[in-house]
């Protein structure tokens, strides 16, 4: 009786083993994560799925951006945009001084613009360095981290793509690999979804940061800058997105970098 019970217990396991062998009799290449072709974006750009971010910066960290530049020029730049307008305008080193109207307040006061401030450093009782962000889209969620010296903030906006998609666009100032590690620690899961980073990275740590982003975070990293500049534009996107281009431009005396990002992979 005991032997019969043992045989009965083993039978289902044998059946399972045999059925597995039957479905995949010959070993072959793994078509999962090991296959690079699976998540390679197509060369053809589908413009309906592209959104644009303008990052204003001198890439040299040479003081408060609007100290010698007129906010009115930004207003002109924004109103001059035609066709698919940038989702967000970012202004590096648009620092916040307590009790003093922020440079972009004037812009949002006169134009139909929502603006926010992403701090780069711990809050100061006087001046806090950071990036200002302006958008014409209402913001329901403004996400951010302040973790062991790493700061990152981002707006979630319904991007007008083929299908309206809530995309979180973060910005940060990355001056060390440790900061990127903190960002990864805090936002690793979110950054695999509909979230991108348009940031500035110190030239000196650029290579390490890009390597970390690609190898540890499993995200795509693109940089733009030159050996003459202290900073590079850094764009980090998840597998379903691709940074199509980063182009430099200038409006009056306001240098900017136009980042085009496409969501190419839809579920």
């Amino acid at each position: 009786m005991k032997r019969i019970l043992e045989i009965l217990a083993v039978l289902p396991m044998m059946f399972l083993l045999l059925s597995c062998e039957g479905t995949d009799p010959t070993p072959g290449p793994d078509s999962g994560s090991g296959n690079d072709d699976v998540l390679t974006p197509p060369e053809t750009v589908k413009s309906a799925n592209v959104f644009v971010v303008d990052m204003f910066s001198t890439l040299n960290d040479d003081g408060e951006f609007f100290e010698m530049r007129a906010v009115e020029s930004v207003a002109q730049h924004i109103s001059a945009q035609s066709g698919k307008r940038p989702l967000i305008y970012m202004f590096d080193r648009a620092d916040f001084t307590v009790g003093k109207s922020h440079p972009l307040n004037k812009l949002s006061y006169t134009a139909n613009i929502f603006q926010l401030f992403a701090q780069h450093e711990p809050t100061s009782a006087t001046v806090t360095k950071g990036t200002a962000m302006a958008t014409q889209y209402p913001i329901n969620v403004y996400d951010g981290i302040a973790q062991d010296g790493a700061y990152m903030s981002g707006l979630t906006i319904s991007a007008p793509l083929t299908t309206s998609t809530p995309v979180c666009v973060y910005t940060s100032r990355v001056s060390s690999l440790d900061q990127m590690k903190q960002i990864y620690k805090a936002k690793s899961m979110k950054l695999l979804g509909d979230a991108v980073i348009v940031a500035l990275v110190d030239n000196a740590v650029k290579a390490d940061v890009v390597k970390f982003v690609e190898q540890t975070m499993s995200l795509r990293a693109t940089t733009y800058g030159s050996a003459d500049t202290k900073l590079d534009v850094l764009v980090v996107v998840p597998p379903a997105y691709v940074c199509r281009s980063i182009e430099s431009g200038k409006t009056v005396n306001l240098p900017y970098y136009r980042v085009s990002i496409e969501k190419w992979l839809w579920e």
Binding site: S101, S108, Y142
Partner: protein
């Protein structure tokens, strides 16, 4: 002799303030329902706010570029943007509903940068106006992060307010930071919904009437804190005599120590 007594009193008062300040962050919190700017200009409201030097202000009944017939002087005005511009504070806006060609909702001004924020819609039975709350994380100069919540609860039904209070409590239950909740609760202190709030939160205001400015008869504007043990109330005041809205502004000054 009189001069000596005065001097001693000043010394004691200074010592008390210094002792509180040494313990942690002194924060001046304000809540103010603006009644869609019907009774004053944004410059007037901003001047008043600036004169009080608050650190954080919860604003209710804020329009964003509406064409409201009852406040034609505010047509097209984005309240929070203007107030931020005139006060030199940070401004964020939370839309509750579309209204008169723009938005109607709540706002928040902060003396310090806002690390993150979220506009959350409160429960709504479909028969009443949609209400919302704005949740903002703010890093103070000493590195401590607080979460400040601004809301404007339903006006017509107590049952809806009870559900909204339950929702707020549930939504914030895992918040790791010191919490402050301010706003127009549309409920007097003796109501069930305010009793529910007091079970988890400490009221940082007194019982002076906040509404209406022309005939003060009820208190419906509050500032709460949670947990209570980290917060010491230095003073609170309903700013009677400020006639820029149909509500009086309410200001509480606290010392916050993260134990």
């Amino acid at each position: 002799m009189k001069r000596i007594i005065t001097l001693i009193s000043i010394l004691f008062a200074s010592a008390a303030v210094m002792s509180a300040a040494e313990k942690g962050d002194t924060l001046k919190l304000m809540t103010y329902n603006l009644r869609f700017g019907e009774l004053a200009s944004m410059e007037q409201i901003a001047d008043y706010i600036s004169s009080q030097q608050p650190d954080i202000v919860a604003l209710q009944e804020c329009d964003w570029a509406t064409n409201r017939t009852r406040a034609p002087h505010q047509n097209g005005v984005k309240f929070v943007n203007e107030l931020a511009y005139h006060t030199g504070m940070f401004g964020i806006y939370g839309k509750s509903i579309n209204y008169a060609g723009g938005y109607y909702g709540i706002g928040l001004l902060s003396r310090y940068p806002i690390l993150r924020y979220e506009r959350v819609l409160l429960p709504n039975d479909g028969k009443t106006e949609q209400r919302s709350m704005l949740i903002a994380d703010i890093e103070l100069p000493d590195g401590q992060v607080i979460t400040f919540v601004n809301t404007h609860l339903e006006v017509k039904t107590a049952q809806m307010r009870i559900e909204q209070v339950q929702f707020i409590n549930e939504y914030l239950k895992d918040c790791p930071n010191q919490l402050f909740l301010a706003g127009d609760m549309n409920a007097t202190p003796d109501t069930e919904e305010m009793e529910m709030l007091r079970q988890g939160w400490t009221d940082l205001t007194d019982r002076v009437f906040t509404y209406s400015t022309s005939k003060p008869q009820i208190k419906i504007d509050y500032i709460y804190a949670k947990p209570a043990e980290n917060v010491e109330l230095l003073g609170t005041a309903v700013k009677e005599g400020v006639m820029l809205s149909d509500h009086f502004p309410v200001i509480s000054t606290i010392v916050f120590t993260n134990k």
